[in-house]
């Protein structure tokens, strides 16, 4: 069952172009050239209930604009969004009761007071019954192990502690969909791990997550459905395993040789040399669709004398950067 259905979503902005320097600044006081920017260009997709969907794309691709439209915070220029049966921007007040959001770079906590006071404020705003609130807060705080942290002013908390509190703030009213916009940005590995565990735990209860991130570890560990946006257009919409094969059936072969090569291995084995840090260390990329891996290894054994070999899948960074550069 789909919880989100997006069709032909478009968002254009009108902005002003201005050159640099004093002359351009003076000129802009009198004449400004209007520029129309298409941030999201006719994209359509669906998200299944209870899934974790990764929305990826390079900076300026239109991910955050899409998320904001899905949250009802921005009005689309065109197209339709049906999320939980609501039109997010037309039914905003009813709709946002059922969603939560964590923006890694925008805090919902009140800076000068302890997070628990911000949580209390949200309790009133979302009309959460006192007993439910108490139970849920204690459950969420226990998951993150931050019972003491919640009593300190937000401004003295570490980034990791603050992000955990942001998650609690977004989850107190038990939302059906949670939008996460770069939730692990700037966090250390321990905090990231804790947050990923938290997301998995909440997701197991049936909550749908939409995640935008530049951290591919987040994607690999959490998302089963990936949507990639580039220049405002959707360029990929499928499962994570399919993404791994999107740029072909390619493998990375890391070799340690006993003796330096005397042949042009790229040409002889129909492979691409990615790096060669020394005469006896070599990394190759092989397209197994044209050269099956068995045949490749057999040919490699015949033509080289290697001491060690590692066969790896194409790294996610490589796949994503190839898609971004298309």
């Amino acid at each position: 069952m789909n919880v989100i259905e997006v069709s032909n979503l478009t968002k254009t902005y009108t902005t002003h172009k201005r050159g640099s320097g004093f002359g351009a600044a003076v000129k802009s006081l009198f004449v400004r050239e209007k520029v129309e920017v298409c941030a999201v260009d006719d994209i359509s997709f669906t998200v299944k209930k209870g899934s974790i969907c990764g929305l990826l794309g390079p900076n300026g691709a239109g991910k955050s604009t899409t998320i904001k439209m899905l949250c009802g915070a921005l009005y689309p220029t065109g197209g339709k969004i049906n999320s939980l049966g609501f039109n997010p921007y037309a039914d905003r007040k009813k709709y946002v009761r059922k969603i939560g959001a964590v923006f890694g770079q925008r805090s919902q906590l009140v800076w000068d007071i302890p997070p628990v006071d911000s949580f209390n404020m949200n309790r009133a705003i979302y009309a959460i019954p006192a007993a439910d609130y108490k139970k849920r807060l204690s459950h969420l705080a226990a998951l993150f192990e931050i019972q003491d942290v919640m009593q300190k002013p937000t401004r003295v908390l570490s980034l990791g502690e603050r992000m955990k509190c942001e998650f609690i703030m977004a989850m107190l009213h038990n939302p059906e969909i949670v939008f996460l916009d770069e939730p692990t940005i700037g966090l250390d590995i321990l905090a990231k791990t804790k947050i990923r565990e938290f997301i998995r735990e909440i997701n197991a209860g049936g909550t749908t997550f939409i995640l935008t991130t530049h951290d591919l570890e987040d994607v690999q560990q959490l998302a089963e459905h990936i949507i990639i946006i580039n220049h405002g257009k959707k360029v990929f919409d499928d499962t994570l395993p399919r993404l791994q094969h999107y740029v072909g059936e390619r493998k990375i072969i890391e070799l340690k040789l006993n003796v330096p090569l005397t042949i042009d291995i790229g040409k002889e084995l129909n492979a691409r040399i990615i790096k060669q840090p020394s005469p006896v260390e070599l990394t190759l990329e092989v397209d197994t669709a044209s050269t099956p891996i068995g045949e490749f290894i057999a040919a490699l054994s015949r033509k080289t004398n290697f001491a060690d070999i590692a066969i790896k899948a194409l790294p996610m960074e490589e796949i994503i950067s190839q898609i971004y550069s298309e």
């Binding site: 009005y75 007040k93 919902q108 007071i113 002013p153």
Partner: protein, 257 residues
């Protein structure tokens, strides 16, 4: 429901404002001091033997006290909306406001407490107490005064909402309050000293006369039931401010992600 949200948010807003105690107390004292100096010009005018035709010193003081009270009260409730809107729009964080299941205007009113205006309110109250003692005030006119004062509060609310709405278009323009303050200046003096055209404008179009002139005049016994009709433009002005703000929210475009 609204009361419960407002109470909870205002508790948080007050806690935030008082988190830095010295700043809180200094702001209060400085604003109070400046506003006690506000009627100094009136004192100088009347000491020099001049004055506003038909108005005695304590009558003008009463009017200015009502203006300060209204300004302080509106400041405590609404002033934070302007600065919060301006900051959210400039930094692209207004979506945080839109994520709450309340009207953005209500949320910002409830979560922003302007401690500076508290000084204005206390100062206005002190001036009002002095003026009431020395001016010839009609006790029977107190209900009419309260109605007209409430209407003046509506005008102040409208002004604050229009200022905040403007900040969606004039992003980061910190001069917005000064533009609106110059309009409010007409409300600080008796309308009778202005030409009829300005009187009409300040009563029916941008009813700044309702902030202090009409309530003070009523308290001095100069009113009849027809005066109450000028409440209507004040309410319409506030509704215009609310509507404009709501429309301008649609213009919000965020910043690059």
């Amino acid at each position: 429901m609204f009361f419960s949200i407002y109470k909870s948010c205002i508790n948080a807003a007050f806690a935030r404002a008082s988190a830095y105690r010295l700043n809180f107390l200094l702001s209060l004292v400085i604003t109070l001091g400046f506003n006690l100096l506000f009627p100094l010009v009136t004192v100088l005018i009347y000491s020099a033997g001049a004055g506003f035709p038909g108005w005695g010193f304590y009558e003008v003081l009463l009017m200015q006290a009502v203006f300060t009270l209204s300004n302080g009260l509106a400041g405590v409730v609404f002033s934070g909306v302007l600065w919060a809107t301006m900051q959210h729009v400039r930094e692209g964080t207004f979506e945080i406001v839109l994520l709450k299941p309340t009207g953005p205007l209500f949320f910002l009113i409830a979560t922003n407490f302007d401690e500076d205006s508290l000084g204005l309110l206390v100062g206005g109250g002190a001036l009002f107490a002095v003026a009431v003692v020395f001016a010839d005030v009609s006790v029977a006119a107190v209900p009419a005064f309260l109605v007209l004062f409430a209407a003046g509060f509506c005008v102040m609310a409208g002004v604050n909402m229009l200022m905040a709405a403007t900040s969606f278009k004039w992003v980061g323009n910190s001069r917005i309050p000064e533009i609106f303050d110059s309009l409010l200046n007409f409300g600080k003096y008796p309308l009778t000293i202005f030409p009829n055209a300005i009187r009409g404008l300040a009563t029916f179009v941008i009813p700044v006369g309702m902030i202090a002139f009409y309530p003070a005049n009523a308290l001095l016994g100069n009113w009849d039931w027809r005066t109450l009709f000028v409440v209507v433009p004040s309410i319409l002005f506030m509704l215009f401010g609310v509507r404009t703000y709501q429309k301008m929210v649609r213009a919000y475009e965020g910043v690059g992600g």
